[in-house]
């Protein structure tokens, strides 16, 4: 999701924002301008053009995830069969235990947590400081530097795979935490989103603080950061989800499960010769990697979705 999301804050929006003449924040805006204001909906339309497609869509989204959870409680012979077994007959955590026996799940989980926590923290801090600098500090060539950072949004990290591998390997970073974290630390998305937000803050309050002799650091941490908490939370959440799901780089740079993150470790569960059908085990693994994000999302989806739309449609 990283880059699409990233680009939600990308340059495409600048035009829109200016066009609407607004630094106004539309994020919280839920004003329902319903097409159906034309008149009361007949029930047929409400069902066939409203509830029915909505229910179908939700089922299509939910059922596969439900299937995953069910699958993780099945036994191998309930899966390797031509007769569909809907509910596991003897639901058990055996698949989870098996998965843990095959790969060191607690270790993978810890690695993911560590990489995500460190990576996201550094990224958010870097985003805050850079955004502040671009919003409030004068520097020759500032615009060009900002543009250079913005354009980085268009460069997917995947195309840097070989050069970055060689670089990190040359520094001895293969299969190390810092080797996993370092190349992804630069943040163009956070810088952009927070700069936009900082620039929409009431400038007179900041100027008053300056008159009172508050330095940049105190203005940043006493005023700008507290006033921008929702935006920072958005950036933080998006970054966390991003780091958690990151696959290709950890896949390439780690060699064993002492450093692999969850998504990479999951691939270890597939075994080529031998053990037929590891599906319950694979589903157990999928549950472990998907569930944390799903829970975070369910509680904080407002922030994540709002952050997105705020960037995209002004």
């Amino acid at each position: 999701m990283s880059l699409a999301l990233t680009r939600a804050g990308g340059p495409a929006i600048v035009g829109n924002a200016e066009r609407r003449g607004g630094r106004k924040d539309h994020s919280g805006h839920e004003a329902t301008v319903d097409e159906s204001i034309v008149g009361p909906d007949p029930w047929t339309r409400r069902v066939f053009g409203g509830y029915l497609p909505l229910i179908i869509a939700c089922l299509i989204i939910v059922l596969p995830l439900l299937w995953m959870v069910l699958g993780s409680f099945k036994t191998a012979d309930e899966v390797i069969t031509q007769d569909l077994v809907l509910w596991p007959h003897h639901p058990s955590f055996a698949a989870y235990a098996n998965a843990s026996a095959k790969v060191n799940f607690p270790q993978l989980f810890m690695n993911s947590v560590l990489v995500t926590a460190v990576g996201a923290t550094v990224k958010v801090v870097l985003a805050i400081t850079s955004a502040y600098a671009f919003a409030f500090l004068r520097f020759p060539g500032k615009r060009i530097i900002f543009l250079a950072i913005l354009v980085a949004l268009m460069v997917p990290s995947q195309v840097s795979l070989v050069p970055n591998y060689i670089t990190i390997a040359g520094m001895g970073g293969v299969n190390t935490y810092w080797g996993i974290i370092l190349p992804g630390l630069g943040t163009a998305f956070g810088t952009f989103l927070l700069r936009q937000n900082f620039m929409s803050l009431p400038i007179d309050v900041l100027e008053a603080a300056e008159m009172d002799g508050a330095g940049h650091l105190s203005r940043l941490f006493r005023m700008v950061v507290p006033m921008s908490t929702p935006a920072i939370a958005t950036v933080a959440l998006v970054t966390i989800v991003d780091e958690w799901n990151n696959y290709i780089w950890p896949l390439v740079i780690t060699t064993d499960d002492s450093r692999m993150t969850l998504p990479v470790g999951l691939t270890l569960l597939k075994n080529i010769e031998g053990d037929p059908s590891a599906y319950p085990i694979l589903m157990a693994g999928a549950v472990v990697v998907i569930l944390p994000v799903l829970i975070v999302f369910l509680f904080l989806q407002r922030y994540i979705v709002a952050g997105l739309t705020q960037g995209a449609v002004k």
Binding site: M68, R138, L161, N164, H216, V264, A286, I290
Partner: protein
């Protein structure tokens, strides 16, 4: 110096303040900028150099072969890889935008439970591609999969999703759309909600029907969003990796530019030079898209 002493004081103070501000700027921006320079921009240049080498990943030595890798790509693999990339991109982008718009229209109606529905539809977008890929592999499995079981109920047999390149591509495209359409839906929804109410009321007073209103008022108003979505989804589609790698590890029928580049360097071939050539081609395509986007935007800013 002494001659202009009277004004030098404040100016010097100003200069010093300027200097301090500049230093602070450097301290604030440099780490981020340096990281981006080293790990985003530098690789692009290195890729160009590597792409001219016949070089096995891990080997300390390589042979300079000029444009040999490009020649090989365009005479051997280009047709299949570019074709796959094009199909994958066009169908996933078109599919998720169309379905996303449809869902957004539905979600924009005053329905009970539309907020949870919006969250549900969006959820797959934030889930791990690896996890999602595994789940769908299990669903598509021609013997033990639930899809095959449903088909058997109707007396049909499951298509060979994992064997026929065309079907593999179809399968990955379906899952990709499943995962990404929520993004389009939510962004379209926000755009729809931003359509001014009075315009719609005026149209209704003029007796315009729903589809007419949509075509002549709503659609033009949300066209910047359409353009924005088009660009972002094309870009993310060009980079998709997780699903392809999990569902079709050999890349049978699903070898897009991105995946070809991965397979060449880190799959069975270890051809780092050739992989870099493919990456460079991908970067050129992205560059063209970016330039296109910027030009289009310029026009938008002035005329829209």
């Amino acid at each position: 110096m002494s001659a202009s002493g009277t004004i030098a004081g404040p100016r010097r103070r100003l200069n010093r303040r300027r200097l301090r501000e500049s230093l602070l700027f450097v301290a604030f921006v440099l780490p981020n900028a340096a990281l981006i320079a080293v790990f985003t921009y530098r690789p692009l240049i290195l890729n160009v150099w590597y792409s001219m080498l016949d070089w096995t990943l891990g080997s300390a030595r390589a042979t300079f072969i000029g444009l040999g890798n490009y020649r090989e790509f365009f005479t051997k693999d280009a047709g299949a890889v570019l074709g796959t990339t094009l199909i994958f991109t066009v169908v996933t982008v078109g599919g998720s935008m169309l379905i996303g718009l449809g869902l957004a229209v539905v979600l924009n109606r005053r329905l009970i439970g539309r907020n949870p529905a919006r969250a549900t539809v969006f959820a797959p977008y934030v889930l791990s591609g690896v996890g999602v890929g595994l789940v769908w592999t299990f669903i598509f499995d021609p013997v033990g999969g639930v899809l095959a079981a449903v088909l058997r109920k109707f007396g049909a047999s499951s298509p060979q999703w994992f064997l026929q390149p065309g079907l593999s591509l179809t399968m990955v495209i379906i899952v990709y759309i499943w995962k990404n359409l929520g993004y389009c839906a939510v962004i379209y929804l926000a755009a729809l909600q931003a359509v001014p109410r009075d315009l719609l009321e005026a149209a209704a007073l003029d007796g315009a029907g729903r589809s007419r209103t949509f075509r002549s008022i709503v659609w033009p108003l949300i066209s910047p969003t359409t353009f924005f979505l088009l660009m972002t989804t094309i870009l993310s589609s060009l980079q998709s990796f997780d699903l392809i790698r999990i569902m079709t590890p050999m890349g049978q029928g699903t070898t897009t530019l991105m995946y070809a580049s991965y397979l060449q360097a880190f799959g069975g071939y270890n051809r780092a030079g050739y992989s870099s050539a493919i990456s460079t081609i991908l970067v050129v395509i992205l560059l063209i898209l970016t330039v296109f986007q910027m030009r289009f935007l310029e026009r938008k800013v002035y005329y829209a």
